[in-house]
């Protein structure tokens, strides 16, 4: 297994479009790194540069300390799982998995052992004689995974491997991949636009937008301490509430005012906001940190009450979501399924101010978490 290092890596296309800009990342052995971001953010391009399927325009890519910018894909000792699986349609499942080994002139007995072991791990033993056209989407996906495993590479690259599967299978395969990572102890780089996949699989997540890396962090840090407005909005579903608010100072306390509502910022966060007094900032609060009256709890540090009108109520099973209007903005909140609030109700909510995020309106960078 291997360490990777990307230093100032960039990709500029012949037409001048910059797909990836100044990408810097150190990936440790056995890490499970996720590249996440909306379509066109450069995540797949970065992965393909690591694979050698795209040229690197600037910067250096090292695998285990060796610069591999100009090394052929086959000599980088990596395996890739493609979004459309890219299985060889004319080969059986067995041959698909054995193919990279055959080309490396591994002896037949050894190939057989490796392929059968990979098939056993992925539960493909009964399908070894089938051609890809006779397999379901989920089975093809497993074969693609098997081909990568049989190859025994230093690094696994996965380009949205689950995006063609139905929701149920996706959840199942997600767990499989997670187990696989533990079992193989492999370095994996995984591209997805699905933030649930990113949060559940990754040891670290790289959030990208417009070819620029926004934040690299563990899933929990990314969720609780997003570095800017984009990351805060991208990670978490339903997304974080954002409200334009004016920073004020009253009786030595820092306040945020939106519409007729004013909330007091806890002291721990007040200092960072001092320079912004009189200015408009963006307050961010996740739906689960917006607490409805019926659910006020002692252990939470709640803000002043905010009046809201419920416009949409969605029962999700174990919990419910409400969307409502407050003076100066709109807000969504998690409720317990037993909460009696319904559409059209006039309710009171409060923010768990310990979980309040504030962003600079100009730079969109986080001021305080």
């Amino acid at each position: 297994m291997a360490e990777l290092s990307l230093e100032h890596v960039g990709k500029t296309y012949p037409n001048g479009y910059e797909g990836v800009k100044d990408f810097n990342l150190q990936i440790a052995d056995k890490e499970f790194i996720i590249f996440v971001g909306p379509s066109g953010c450069g995540k797949s391009t970065t992965l393909r540069m690591i694979a050698g399927l795209e040229d690197i325009t600037s910067g250096t890519l090292k695998i285990d300390g060796r610069v591999v910018n100009d090394v052929e894909p086959k000599d980088r000792d990596i395996a890739m799982v493609f979004q459309n699986y890219a299985l060889y349609p004319h080969m059986t499942v067995y041959d698909n998995m054995a193919f990279p080994l055959k080309l490396r002139k591994v002896d037949a007995a050894q190939i057989d052992k490796i392929v059968r072991e990979a098939a056993r791990i992925l539960d493909l033993e009964k399908l070894l004689d089938r051609k890809p056209s006779a397999l379901s989407g989920g089975q093809r996906q497993r074969v693609a995974m098997g081909r990568a495993i049989a190859r025994q590479p230093k690094v696994f690259l996965m380009d949205e491997p689950l995006s063609n599967l139905d929701a149920k299978l996706r959840v199942q395969m997600r767990a499989e991949i997670s187990k696989l990572h533990d079992r193989l102890g492999a370095t994996i780089i995984y591209v997805t636009h699905d933030q649930t996949e990113a949060m559940t699989l990754g040891t670290r997540i790289v959030v990208m937008k417009d070819g620029v890396m926004q934040q690299v962090d563990t899933p929990s840090n990314l969720y609780s301490k997003p570095c800017n407005l984009f990351v805060a909005g991208f990670i978490g579903s339903p997304q974080m509430n954002f409200i334009d608010a004016r920073v004020g100072e009253k009786g030595g306390k820092i306040t945020l005012t939106f519409g007729a509502n004013t909330i007091t910022v806890p002291d721990a966060k007040a200092k960072a906001l001092k320079p912004y007094v009189g200015k408009v900032v963006i307050a961010g609060i996740r739906p689960e940190d917006v607490v409805e009256e019926h659910e006020y709890a002692e252990n939470k540090k709640l803000s002043e009450k905010i009046a809201a009108t419920v416009t949409v109520y969605e029962l999700l099973g174990s919990e419910a979501m409400i969307y409502g209007d407050v003076d100066g903005g709109q807000i969504s909140a998690h409720l317990s399924a037993t909460n009696p609030v319904r559409t059209g109700d006039r309710i009171q909510v409060a923010f768990d101010v310990d979980k309040l995020h504030v962003f600079d309106k100009e730079t969109e960078l986080a001021i305080v978490h």
């Binding site: 399927l53 086959k74 349609p89």
Partner: protein, 289 residues
């Protein structure tokens, strides 16, 4: 009511389809099936193509197998067909790979290589006849190969290939484009490059195009005619007499109408059998993408 209305719409539509199909069917039967059947009938006669004739039963067929000229025309035709089919397919495949790669002026090159297809075979034959009669001898200082009983067939092969490569290449390009890009990429990562990539990935995946081209080119080459009319008229010394040319020449102006009809029937059956056999054999090697 709804069902009735649907049935009415259905029958209207069927009538339109029939109106489209029937005239074509009549034309096809009149100018293809009927002459074919007439041909089969005449193959059992001693018709000269005009005047009275007698029924001779299977005599024409029996004579065919003993006729040295017919035998030679079969040998020549198959030699040209097999060699041309192989050469055409190999060159077309190489060209298609070139024209399918990321090169500059790709569209212009594709158009250029397609030109032979839009030229008439006779025109091409006459141009090449000039080329082999005057230009090649002037360059090499030797005689024209069209005058050589030993080498004239090579000239026919060259012309046939030159012209059929155009369409064959287009079919190969289409085949190559149907192979998903990520399969090549997976191949690259797995260590298949150059010859290995072609042998293990590209070629097996374009087998459907190979089948189509092998069958089409073989069929066309077996029926080689125009090029011979334009270049050698079957000569020298009947060394480039193809089956089609012999049927045409001796059947229509040589007083052997009945006899050559029998030849045509045998030839028809032969081409049908070869095409079916080829398709069967090659289809078994095709893969579902």
């Amino acid at each position: 009511m709804a069902n009735l209305a649907k049935a009415k719409v259905g029958s209207d539509r069927n009538r339109t389809f029939l109106l489209i199909l029937i005239p074509v069917l009549i034309l096809f039967v009149a100018f293809n099936t009927f002459p074919l059947l007439t041909g089969v009938f005449y193959s059992f006669t001693d018709s000269k193509g005009y005047g009275a004739f007698n029924m001779v039963g299977l005599q024409n067929y029996i004579d065919l197998f003993g006729d040295a000229r017919v035998g030679n025309s079969y040998l020549f035709t198959f030699k040209v067909a097999v060699v041309s089919t192989l050469i055409t397919n190999v060159i077309s495949l190489v060209l298609a790979m070139g024209l399918n790669s990321k090169i500059k002026f790709k569209s212009a090159f594709r158009a250029l290589y397609f030109v032979p297809q839009i030229l008439g075979a006779l025109v091409v034959g006459y141009v090449f006849s000039y080329f082999f009669t005057y230009i090649v001898p002037a360059l090499t200082g030797t005689g024209s190969i069209l005058a050589s009983t030993e080498w004239a067939w090579v000239a026919i092969v060259v012309v046939c290939c030159w012209q059929s490569i155009a369409q064959t290449t287009i079919i190969y390009i289409t085949g190559l484009q149907s192979v998903p890009e990520d399969v090549y990429e997976a191949g690259n990562l797995d260590g298949a490059t150059g010859w290995n990539l072609f042998r293990y990935i590209t070629f097996p995946l374009i087998m459907p195009s190979v089948t189509t081209n092998m069958v089409l080119v073989m069929k066309n080459m077996l029926m080689v005619f125009d090029q011979i009319v334009a270049m050698t008229s079957g000569g020298p010394a009947q060394s480039t007499e193809s089956i089609s040319y012999l049927i045409y020449n001796n059947g229509l102006s040589g007083g052997q109408f009945g006899f050559q009809c029998a030849n045509a029937v045998i030839f028809f059956i032969l081409i049908a059998v070869i095409s079916v056999a080829q398709t069967k054999f090659l289809n078994s090697r095709e893969e579902q993408l």
